[in-house]
């Protein structure tokens, strides 16, 4: 059950990593886990999502989609509806521009294909079981396990749905195709809310996982 060592030992060597076994293990810790563009877009996305969610909660409270369910006002951003709308429609530019750069670079560098695929249901089940029984190893942060792959893909698609449903709500007359795609104005609000709930759930699990594997936070900060 010493799988922990295997990926590192078997991982392709980077230039300059040749040498004795000890030198190799020291330089393995030096290899880039996340390229700089990924770290920048990750943190900008985190900022944008946090601002969007907190201000969105205040906007939601102005007229709750689900009668009787409200977000405690002290958790929200904006102070009042107009302030929340200003935050929301400012952060949307960051979310969209940064998201497009992230998706674009993922495709151009081919990272999307190498990091997220192949992904099979069997692998997800196996890694999920390993995670739940605390037997999943996180020794090589460059390689996502199947649960991670699925979670990141889900949240990427979810953020796209969030943006599209948001656009359908913001510009329901100007974007008729989006409005139709979201099932009309009122349904778009429900889609927008549910997509928000998914991203918040992802955020919670994501932060818990980072707390369990603190090295992953360092890797997202300094790249190694």
């Amino acid at each position: 059950m010493k799988r922990a060592i295997q990926p590192r030992a078997g991982a392709p060597a980077t230039p300059g990593s040749a040498g004795t076994g000890n030198q190799r293990s020291a330089s393995a810790g030096n290899r880039v886990v996340h390229p700089l563009w990924l770290r920048i877009t990750h943190w900008l996305n985190a900022l944008a999502v946090i601002v969007m969610v907190l201000s969105g909660w205040r906007i939601y409270d102005a007229s709750p989609v689900f009668k009787g369910f409200m977000i405690p006002l002290h958790l929200t951003l904006g102070g009042w509806l107009a302030g929340a709308l200003q935050w929301h429609f400012a952060a949307m530019w960051l979310l969209m521009a940064n998201g497009l750069i992230y998706l674009g670079l993922n495709l151009v560098t081919g990272r999307a294909f190498t990091q997220f695929f192949p992904l099979t249901p069997r692998a997800v089940m196996a890694d999920l079981f390993a995670a739940l029984t605390a037997r999943l190893h996180h020794d090589d942060l460059r390689r996502y396990n199947a649960v991670q792959k699925l979670a990141y893909l889900v949240v990427i698609v979810d953020l796209i749905v969030l943006v599209l449903s948001g656009l359908a709500i913001w510009k329901s007359v100007q974007f008729p195709t989006l409005r139709w795609l979201m099932g009309g104005y009122d349904t778009a609000r429900i889609v927008h809310f549910c997509a928000m709930a998914i991203v918040v759930a992802f955020f919670v699990v994501h932060v818990v996982m980072v707390a369990i594997v603190p090295r992953s936070l360092l890797a997202m900060l300094r790249g190694r």
Binding site: G10, Q23, A90, V173, Q174, L221, R222
Partner: protein
């Protein structure tokens, strides 16, 4: 595989070097700083940051930028969806910046609609004169900035025709409104000339009730509810930005849908 099963002998010196390097790493300090920033981020909640003048100025300038984006997105020929009688929201909600008891009571007998600014034609209109104008009906969705929406049936005269009839300079930038409830509002000329922009005198086939804006309301299904002024008593055409009751408090001016 075999390497993994048989770990190499420990090299204490290189481990020590690694440990020292780890501890001296600036990213450890950076980690603490990031944690502090997360704490700072939590200050975003509530209204603490919104009270900051520079933040307000920044957000207002983004809102002005969003006005321009919306004007660019606005298609003067694209129609808002229309609905059937069966889809009407009943009762249509009353909504204003005051309670329903404070709805202004406008006297129909001596009411005169004033036109001013860049207008060359008839500047005073009585209600019978307005009611005699070409009639149009629409069943459209009123979308409130709060998120709720309601479908209503409105009757009146197409605003673009009216503007041309009164000799308004349709090349001007804004059309402004002054209302009997001290509300004021202004819109872009492109929206004023939109085929579904209706100077409304009727709700659901009957004279517009006071609660919906007697004697007239400008109905624009391409804009959010607060952009649709009620109890209009004066309309003016101008190139000077007139603002609006809610926009002056921080709501987006264009307010398009």
């Amino acid at each position: 595989m075999s390497d993994a099963n048989k770990p190499p002998p420990l090299d204490c010196m290189s481990i020590l070097i690694d440990v020292r390097r780890e501890l001296a790493m600036p990213s450890r300090r950076r980690f603490t700083r990031q944690a502090l920033t997360l704490g700072g981020l939590s200050l975003l909640t509530g209204c603490s940051l919104t009270d900051d003048e520079s933040v307000n100025r920044f957000l207002m300038s983004v809102s002005r930028f969003n006005d321009r984006v919306q004007a660019w997105l606005f298609d003067p020929r694209r129609l808002a969806p229309t609905y059937s009688e069966a889809q009407l929201t009943r009762p249509f909600p009353f909504n204003a910046y005051y309670e329903i008891e404070d709805v202004p009571k406008v006297d129909a007998s001596d009411f005169v609609l004033q036109l001013s600014g860049l207008v060359t034609g008839k500047k005073r209109w009585t209600l019978p004169e307005l009611y005699a104008l070409p009639h149009a009906e629409q069943i459209t969705r009123h979308i409130c900035v709060e998120g709720w929406s309601a479908i209503g049936r409105w009757g009146g005269t197409p605003f673009a025709d009216f503007l041309r009839r009164v000799g308004a300079d349709t090349g001007a930038t804004y059309v402004g409104f002054k209302c009997a409830d001290d509300y004021y509002e202004s819109i872009d000329m492109a929206t004023a000339l939109h085929p579904q922009t209706l100077l409304t005198f009727q709700y659901d086939g009957e004279t517009l009730p006071a609660k919906y804006g007697f004697p007239m309301k400008l109905r624009m299904p391409t804009k959010l509810g607060y952009k649709n002024p009620k109890h209009i008593r004066e309309i003016f055409v101008t190139n000077t930005y007139p603002g609006g009751y809610w926009s002056d408090m921080g709501y987006n001016w264009f307010g398009g849908s």
